[in-house]
Symmetry: C2
Subunit: 118 residues, 2 copies
DNA sequence: TCCTTAGTTCAAAAGTTATTGAACAATTGG
DNA sequence: CCAATTGTTCAATAACTTTTGAACTAAGGA
């Protein structure tokens, strides 16, 4: 039950750039970067589109080698492949994320954090 | 007879990434970077496609703010907007070019340099 | 077992991008 | 002025991408 991911040498520069050239996906990456280390499931991104649409965008990110999706029960835990991207394209992800953080035109992933019990 | 270019604050991250997410345009940018300072006319890129097709790709690069095109006679002299891109998205262009230089899958702009008189 | 939750797959529709050739415009050199 | 050079525009087509809803699978909890 593992999903297909390219290995590091199969990650292509134009494909990665093309995949990041979409506001929804850039917003996903920005959010993943802001929660680095925390594995997030897909429904965390529902602010950015419908379930089906997110499935599509998350698959694009995964197939391009930008994210990793690990199957945990009925969830897919999504993380950025930061180390792999840094090794393959040094500095690229950092500069993209830094620019994305400052981009007010990108859609935001809402603030409905997990309920903290009273 | 000047062509339209976005000004620096109009340059959009997803648009730039999307525009660079195409092998032909990435090859153009890589070649421009390798000849930085030298203004090149469009026909320098004819290895990468037909005249019409290059007109299309060069317009995309210009409209995204990646290149500047200056009209000189019947020529358009194309340069990278490196300073503007560095100011807007620090480190991005450097990392993209560094990765593009190492990418054997990108098409190459041929070696037919200007004839050196005998 | 049955229901719910999480996410995928499929096919269709809509929208966008890339590529082509023919026709056009503008400048330059003879 | 005429012809060549440089590059653009236009319309058509082909190819891809995004978005949608309905149907589906798989795991987990009651």
């Amino acid at each position: 039950m593992t999903l297909p991911h390219p290995n590091i040498d199969q990650i292509s520069l134009p494909i990665v750039l093309g995949v990041l050239g979409d506001p929804t996906r850039l917003a996903i990456v920005r959010y993943l970067a802001s929660k680095e280390g925390v594995p997030l499931n897909c429904s965390r991104f529902l602010d950015l589109g419908s379930k089906t649409n997110l499935s599509y965008h998350l698959a694009k990110l995964r197939e391009a080698g930008v994210t990793r999706a690990e199957v945990v029960g009925t969830n897919r835990m999504i993380t950025l492949r930061r180390a792999d991207l840094d090794a393959r394209f040094p500095g690229l992800l950092d500069s993209v994320i830094a620019a994305a953080v400052d981009d007010p035109a990108l859609p935001a992933v809402g603030g409905h954090d997990i309920d903290v019990p009273a």
